[in-house]
């Protein structure tokens, strides 16, 4: 449905290039008519890609929910493997939507519910003895809500007999103001499917047995409640993604906020999202910190060892929004006028530079993924003393930093860097800043 919408907006673009391109595609060739690009159309296409991305995230989350229900109904190695595969598949479209997070306050506001990390897993379920039993800062560090029908939050006894989606979202999530009390979203589900990764920076992911869900031959205790938790968390993920899909539909708040604003502001939102995800979030918090500390706990998808894939698709998502093109889970392509077109019209050299760097970053991320595929997971690559692994991760960090500098050049080329603080002197622009 959406693809066809976008197709009509292509203005004769050669659509096949992005559709068939591999992740490390050669530099994207743009039509020469870039000067005619309408920023309003760029913003609309961006919103279309957001909608498609969240729709794909939703359908893959629904598939995850189905697989989780099958696991809970009939626990076996096969149903567990299928649920794990569904989880991994759901990460691919979702990570590509992260490029929408930082520019759009409505996404940033919502994001903590679905992708919060890192989490103190002892809140949710049993943990290994090496995890420790208490933490002064988190009284719920080993609350183990699956094993306990009543827990204490901020000195008050809380009924946890029913592990409903409502309970997880409203009571358990960030209980006691502790950010590490992550009770919902992809990473809570990941923990319930894989269990703790006890291998440190050595090989291997979490290894939860399927019998943790087998009420007849239960391992880990409370298999019924574990299944209840997992089903609720999966249901919640679906509901949260439904909400975000709604935000990007025709009258959705996220889309309206963007298209109703000055289109230049919309373009600024796109570039802000690209830069913030590239530098601070991905290169910084998710990669550099873990590399500095050589700490496997500083790994984004730490239970499943899926981090290399998650990071890779973050960078693909950044490239998508720049190119104005997104290859959907079903292989179809949503495409239209792009920021790249705008930058090309303003300064073709900057566009070529940024396009090249976005490709280069994806290639560096693919190198990390290649090592992971060959048996050295991301947490091993950041391990102390792993010179080659460390260098591979550092190369991707460098590439992200490098591409951000070009994003800044693109912002300058489009002369939108000052828009946030300019405007009329009157109170009609209450958000004006004294300068």
């Amino acid at each position: 449905m959406l693809t066809s919408m976008a197709m009509t907006r292509r203005h004769g673009r050669i659509a096949t290039i992005a559709a068939t391109a591999a992740l490390t595609a050669a530099i994207f060739v743009l039509p020469a008519k870039a000067a005619e690009v309408d920023p309003k159309a760029v913003v609309a296409n961006y919103a279309d890609i957001a909608l498609a991305g969240y729709e794909d995230s939703l359908t893959t989350a629904q598939a995850l929910k189905t697989a989780v229900d099958a696991l809970v109904a009939k626990p076996s190695q096969e149903t567990l493997d299928a649920a794990r595969a569904a989880w991994k598949a759901s990460r691919i479209p979702y990570q590509q939507t992260e490029a929408f997070r930082f520019g759009n306050p409505i996404v940033d506001d919502w994001e903590g519910r679905v992708n919060a990390w890192p989490l103190d897993e002892g809140l949710i379920d049993y943990v290994d003895g090496g995890y420790g039993t208490e933490s002064d800062e988190n009284t719920l560090y080993t609350a183990n809500v699956i094993a306990n029908k009543s827990i204490e939050i901020n000195g008050e006894t809380v009924d946890a007999s029913k592990l409903t989606p409502e309970f997880l979202a409203s009571t358990l999530q960030e209980a006691g103001d502790i950010e590490a009390n992550v009770a919902t979203g992809y990473h809570a589900i990941e923990f319930l499917l894989w269990g703790q990764d006890l291998n440190g920076t050595g090989p291997g992911a979490g290894n939860r047995p399927y019998t943790d869900y087998d009420t007849a031959n239960c391992t880990g205790g409370n298999c019924d409640r574990r299944g209840e938790y997992l089903a609720s968390a999966s249901q919640l993920l679906v509901a949260d993604l439904e909400e975000m899909v709604g935000n990007w539909k025709a009258d959705g708040e996220a889309r309206k906020t963007l298209v109703d604003a000055d289109p230049t502001e919309g373009v600024s939102v796109i570039l802000t999202g690209m830069g913030s995800l590239s530098y601070g979030e991905l290169a910084g918090e998710r990669m550099k910190l873990g590399l500095l500390l050589h700490d496997p706990e500083e790994e984004h998808d730490c239970f499943s060892d899926n981090t290399s894939i998650s990071h890779l698709y973050d960078t693909v998502g950044i490239r998508n929004v720049y190119r104005g093109s997104y290859k959907r889970v079903d292989g179809s392509v949503v495409e239209g006028p792009s920021v790249s077109d705008l930058v090309k019209a303003a300064d073709p050299a900057v566009d070529a530079e940024l396009s090249g760097k976005l490709d280069a970053t994806v290639a560096k991320m693919e190198a990390i993924e290649a090592r992971a595929k060959a048996g050295e997971a991301y947490d091993q690559q950041i391990g102390e003393g792993n010179t080659e692994g460390n260098a591979t991760v550092q190369a991707a960090i460098d590439a992200l930093v490098d591409q951000t500098k070009s994003i800044e050049r693109a912002v300058a080329a489009l002369k939108i860097d000052a828009i946030a603080f300019e405007g009329s002197d009157s109170l009609d622009a209450p958000d004006k800043v004294f300068q």
């Binding site: 306050p105 409505i106 940033d108 506001d109 903590g112 933490s135 002064d136 800062e137 988190n138 009284t139 901020n154 000195g155 960030e174 103001d177 502790i178 950010e179 590490a180 830069g275 913030s276 590239s278 530098y279 601070g280 979030e281 290169a283 910084g284 918090e285 550099k288 910190l289 500095l292 500390l293 050589h294 700490d295 500083e298 102390e384 003393g385 792993n386 010179t387 460390n390 260098a391 550092q394 960090i397 460098d398 930093v401 490098d402 951000t404 500098k405 994003i407 800044e408 946030a420 603080f421 002197d425 109170l427 209450p430 958000d431 004006k432 800043v433 004294f434 300068q435």
Partner: protein, 602 residues
């Protein structure tokens, strides 16, 4: 200037970086440069450099050194066009020479020998502005007179860095919105370290050991929940966002001289030190537990409304190391919110001094005493502006003090590897520490400190809400008319020469004069801190106060969280604030409510 010195000290002989430099090839390019660029001294505000090409030999370095090496790594990756504000080329060259001669370290280690003055040499007038700018600043910071509509720029109460993200529980955790992408990266690394759990020594993770031995928390974030305001313990097991400072006043002539010369703030308990740490590493006993007993005190307002205030009484139970010294006073302190600190740091001293009236020369009953303290790195006398008693002059110093006192981690500023353990706590002093000779002389060497400081400087102030509503505007008028704004000074324009552009020349609305005031016996804890008597407190900034419920799920206010809502907080004001408090108490109820609504919109 302070910044430059701190940067130089990092590289002085004996510092880990210096030793590292001697063996690290990638510093050669730096040392080989003919004239060190001023940029390398001033642009370290984003202390992690990210550039490529210089990190090649990282992985062969121990972790802490790798942290250190990062500050050197990215000169190629510095953001373009960064201003080199406020630092002359001369200073930088002089700094480079001093660095080369290796004498900076000794200067820093014995700052008091270099600066013996006992009264500060602070500017009476702003030195960072042209006459034209000064006139603009004076005009825009005039108190409001028209309450029919919001003032210009009022929405953005933290200037251009104001966060306009959606208001949610993370409202105090956003970075200043005018940071560069690179600075945003630095902020996020700082955030990572802010939430990092420190572990006890010895540990396999040598980059993050050194906890305690005595401590209040294992991570900054443990007390700074959601970067917001702490609260009194709600059950016996929970005291992490509030603790007791322990100290007594000067007694001997020598002690009085030390305080007069700003060389001591007060004197710690001989056994328990400067604060009560309720937790300890395995094998050691915590110092004790804070106990609070509340007594309800009824208060009747002008219109007959009755309010109950709870008066706390503090004591310590389960003392682990014998009795407290009988002269030791207990001063409870809740964790303050962290928004806008970097902006406060860049308020020009002349603007703070302009409101000072220590002898009440104008006879309005309000004095306002500047907190003069000695800057640890330089030995100079400067203005204290952070903390409940305004005892701390800079965010970096505040960070170092918190590392040492609260977590027990040594830093270049406060190299106490055993945290707040005293010599009388022999078991504590016998515990292992987190210093590794190969990694550096302290447990949290400089890039960690600077990252955490950078994070602390750049937490954005949220935009105002509802500022145009009738009740809010009415409340603002009541706030002014009651005299609240006499101490809760609404606005400032920060320094033009702020080292980081994000904080430079911003119109900000903290609602504080950052001066000390006698707040009366009701709030006094009898513990003097530097120039602040036992009943004097710094005017607390009010920005963000209305989001306390949203961010921290409570409305406990004042230094010890005794007030259960804003009305109670106002009613606790005494001393110099008694007249304003009485005006509030005598207001019609809808005006009181409006005033509270105004506060909630901040």
């Amino acid at each position: 200037m302070r910044r430059i010195i701190s940067q130089m000290r990092r590289m002085g002989p004996g510092s880990p970086l210096h030793r590292h430099a001697a063996t690290s090839p990638f510093l050669l390019s730096y040392e080989g440069e003919e004239t060190p660029s001023p940029v390398c001294f001033t642009n370290h505000l984003s202390p992690i450099a990210w550039g490529r090409g210089t990190d090649a030999d990282w992985s062969s370095l121990p972790t802490k050194q790798r942290f250190l090496s990062l500050t050197q790594g990215g000169r190629g990756g510095e953001p373009e066009g960064r201003d080199d504000e406020g630092v002359s080329g001369f200073l930088s060259k002089a700094a480079a020479l001093l660095l080369a001669a290796g004498i900076i370290l000794s200067l820093v280690e014995t700052p008091l020998a270099q600066a013996e003055e006992t009264s500060p040499n602070l500017p009476a007038q702003r030195t960072d502005l042209t006459p034209e700018d000064r006139a603009r600043v004076e005009a825009i910071t005039k108190p409001a007179t028209d309450f029919s509509a919001p003032e210009q720029f009022e929405l953005m109460q933290g200037g251009a860095g104001t966060s306009k993200k959606r208001v949610n529980q993370d409202a105090f955790s956003q970075f200043s919105s005018n940071l560069t992408f690179e600075e945003e990266g630095t902020f996020k690394l700082g955030n990572g370290l802010f939430r990092k759990l420190w572990v006890s020594s010895p540990s396999s993770t040598q980059a993050s050991d050194g906890l305690g031995p005595l401590f209040n928390a294992r991570a900054c974030q443990s007390c700074h929940l959601k970067d917001g305001r702490g609260h009194p313990p709600e059950n016996t097991a929970d005291a992490t966002s509030m603790f007791l400072r322990l100290a007594r006043a000067a007694e001997s002539e020598e002690e009085k001289r030390l305080v007069a010369e700003h060389k001591a703030l007060n004197f710690p308990d001989p056994v328990y030190g400067n604060q009560l740490q309720d937790l300890a590493v395995p094998g050691l006993t915590g110092e004790g537990r804070m106990k609070i007993a509340y007594e309800e005190i009824p208060v009747t307002l002008g219109d007959g409304t009755s309010v109950s205030l709870r008066k706390p009484n503090y004591s310590v139970t389960d003392l682990g190391y014998g009795p407290l010294d009988p002269r030791t006073t207990l001063s409870p302190r809740v964790t303050p919110q962290m928004i806008g600190l970097g902006l406060v740091e860049q308020i020009h001293p002349a603007d703070i001094l302009a409101n000072a009236d220590p002898d009440d020369a104008n006879g309005d009953g309000i004095s306002g005493k500047p907190s003069v303290v000695r800057d640890v790195p330089t030995g100079e006398l400067i203005l204290g502006r952070f903390g409940w008693k305004a005892q701390t002059p800079s965010i970096r110093q505040q960070t170092a003090d918190a590392f040492a006192g609260d977590i027990g981690i040594s830093t270049p500023e406060v190299p106490n590897h055993w945290g707040d353990c005293t010599d009388r706590q022999t078991a504590c002093k016998a515990m292992p520490i987190g210093v590794q000779e190969r990694l550096g002389p302290v447990e949290a060497p400089d890039p960690i400190m600077e990252l955490v400081s950078f994070y602390s400087r750049n937490l954005a102030v949220p935009a105002r809400r509802d500022m145009g509503k009738t009740a809010v505007l009415r409340g603002k008028q009541m706030f002014y008319e009651a005299g609240c704004a006499s101490c809760h000074t609404p606005k400032y324009v920060t320094r033009r020469d702020a080292p980081n552009k994000a904080q430079a020349f911003q119109l900000i609305w903290p609602y504080s004069d950052f001066l000390l005031h006698d707040m009366g016996e009701g709030l006094a804890d009898g513990q003097p801190v530097g120039v602040a008597s036992g009943s004097e407190w710094r005017t607390a900034p009010l920005w963000g106060i209305g989001l306390t419920q949203r961010v921290n799920g409570h409305t406990f206010f004042l230094h010890d969280g005794r007030a259960r809502n804003l009305t109670e907080a106002i009613l606790w004001h005494g001393g110099e604030a008694q007249a304003a408090r009485d005006k509030f108490a005598d207001m019609a109820s809808q005006d009181r409510e409006a005033l509270v609504k105004f506060l909630e919109s901040l």
